[in-house]
């Protein structure tokens, strides 16, 4: 895959031709692996309790919690019936997902404050351990991609 076709570079606004010598092109393997990781967390075959539409809504929500409207718009396109959950002000109670959104929001914005109690709250709400790991992976990948995109947006400064 040409790396300028990856979600990460598109969202960072890097859409020009990259020469073979560009430092981004030299890390081509990393951008391609990042795209594969995105597919693994957003569209896994074994999606457990959280289907692809819900995962896209959660991803877009995490983007908005990080003030990244452009990447949020990318993910919101596939949020389907869960579109309302993209809004960080939505508590998720209409979908019986309040406990999931509380966890997602805290891990995204205040990971240092997460304790064992937060995991126990999910378990008491009936979330199975594999699904807790799935939520953590989705949230963690988004933390990575959002920061990678934020850093890459600075690269335009290098060229100017």
């Amino acid at each position: 895959m040409d790396i300028i076709e990856t979600t990460t570079l598109k969202a960072a606004g890097i859409d020009d031709y990259l020469s073979d010598n560009s430092c981004l092109q030299k890390r081509e393997n990393i951008f391609n692996l990042t795209q594969k990781a995105q597919e693994a967390v957003l569209c896994p075959k074994d999606y457990g309790a959280y289907n692809h539409e819900l995962r896209h809504a959660l991803a877009a929500r995490i983007c908005l919690l990080n003030n990244d409207q452009i990447t949020a718009d990318h993910y919101s396109f596939n949020a389907g019936t869960y579109r309302a959950l993209i809004d960080p002000g939505n508590t998720g109670h209409d979908f019986d997902l309040g406990h999931v959104l509380n966890f997602i929001d805290k891990v995204a914005t205040r990971p240092r404050d997460v304790t064992e109690k937060d995991i126990k709250t999910l378990q008491k709400a009936g979330v199975k351990d594999p699904d807790i790991v799935r939520l953590a992976e989705l949230n963690s990948f988004m933390a990575y991609q959002i920061r990678l995109i934020a850093g890459l947006r600075l690269f335009k400064g290098f060229e100017s």
Binding site: I30, R112, A136, R147
Partner: protein, 193 residues
């Protein structure tokens, strides 16, 4: 019961999962494949067994992690570790911080940088280039990320080339990911003697 570790350290702790890891006896073929379990290699950490609940992510994450931290060229290894340390300090991930402080000290054959971070955390006083790297990574790790062109100028003035800045962004961002697994899914505990 193992005692929880609550402060930053360079001594690598053990890690106690908050969820039940996959049991090798009950693992699926896909999980065994991702874990690279063979009859002669059945030693797998609780951390990896925990992540095996989401086998598709696990399978992609390991090569990505290795590429970002170890691929040749660009930013030197210890400075990638410093990006990881800054993220781990900001996110309060004691386990990741210990692993990468320990690696930084080994690679540099010197503990002065990590001694300073252990003493003063985000306010550590470091030499110009290390300080530019550490402060940039703290800002990139925050929520929302808080980096702008002025931060890029500080890195350039400290001598970082474009390819080095890219590697710093990658290693810092990667620990936004790693911290949210290690710190969320388990606790650092005193290592078994």
């Amino acid at each position: 019961m193992s005692e929880l570790i609550k402060t930053f350290t360079r001594e690598v702790p053990d890690w106690k999962p908050r969820v039940k890891p996959v049991s090798l006896d009950e693992a699926t073929e896909a999980q065994l494949d991702a874990l690279k379990v063979t009859p002669s290699n059945t030693k797998v950490s609780d951390y990896v067994l925990t992540l095996a609940h989401d086998v598709e992510s696990l399978k992609v994450r390991s090569p990505l992690f290795n590429a970002i931290m170890y691929d040749k060229g660009g930013l030197k290894r210890s400075e990638r570790e410093l990006g990881a340390i800054a993220a781990s300090v900001l996110n309060s991930c004691i386990y990741c911080n210990a692993v990468h402080m320990s690696r930084h000290a080994q690679l540099e054959k010197d503990t002065s940088v990590t001694d300073s971070i252990l003493a003063d955390g985000e306010n550590a006083k470091l030499a110009d280039r290390d300080s530019a790297i550490f402060q940039f990574s703290l800002k990139l790790s925050s929520c929302p990320p808080d980096v702008g062109n002025e931060d890029l100028i500080v890195l350039e003035e400290a001598g970082l080339k474009q390819d080095e800045v890219l590697d710093l962004i990658l290693s810092t961002a990667l620990f936004g990911w790693a911290n949210r697994l290690m710190h969320i899914l388990g606790d650092p505990v005193e290592p078994k003697k």
